[in-house]
Amino acid sequence: MKKPIIVDNTIRIPSQEEFLPDVDSFIEGILRGFGTDETTIADIAICVTELVNNSIIHGNKSDPDKEVAVEIGKTDSVVEITITDEGTGFDIEHLESPIDEQNLLKEVGRGIFIVRSLMDRVDVKFLKDGTRVTIAKKI
């Protein structure tokens, strides 16, 4: 069975949700090394697991032969994390609002809304062979 691979500041996982805790541990460990406070670590961990979930399920359609890569870095006091999958992406500007009255009881559809609420910056880039989401937050 394929397993997560960590090289420097990047973790690559097969597209299976069982590897989410590996991504979380990796990201939280590096953030603690940066001296990040626990509240900010939780915010970033929520967003990273949110986006990796999206990449696994919607991007790579849970195909274990496809990978999700998560890379973390810091410039000055800003942490930047990129999540790259092999899917065709999504239109971040035309998602239904989960806080509209008629959507409040839906079980899904809050992920990107939460990420945009908790992070300082969210960018989506469509690549030739995948989608890359970059999030950034001042720590």
């Binding site: 949700e17 989410l20 979380d24 929520i46 009881l105 908790l118």
Partner: protein, 111 residues
């Protein structure tokens, strides 16, 4: 995430512990909620005191539990909502959907 549960005064109390982020861990809570319905427990409390954080998968499970209980004539309430989860409930306006109490005993007494 780990999950313990018990019955007190006829109310099923579920106590997840850790992080609710999706994958197999989240399935455990989802299945336990449906087990409550199958066992005829119409009063359920989820005690969030030991949940470090959850993402939208966790919120989706709470919503699923709430609607499942209500569709079966029951009710699901929250207890000991941490600051982190409270902020998520506020951001997503789910604070208007869930009834939350400061303790399990208070939540039980509210039924």
């Amino acid at each position: 995430m780990n999950l313990t549960d018990f019955i007190k005064d006829g109310v099923a109390v579920l106590q997840p512990k850790g992080k609710i982020m999706g994958g197999p861990d989240a399935t455990i809570l989802h299945e336990k909620l449906h087990e409550c319905v199958e066992n005829g427990n119409k009063k359920v409390i989820i005690d969030l005191a030991k949940v470090e954080w959850m993402n939208s998968t966790g919120l989706g499970i709470l919503i699923s539990g709430l609607t499942t209980m209500r569709n079966n004539g029951g009710e699901l309430k929250l207890a000991n909502v941490t600051d982190k989860i409270q902020s998520l409930l506020t951001i997503t306006k789910l604070v208007t959907v869930f009834e939350a109490h400061d303790s399990v005993d208070e939540a039980i007494a509210s039924f």
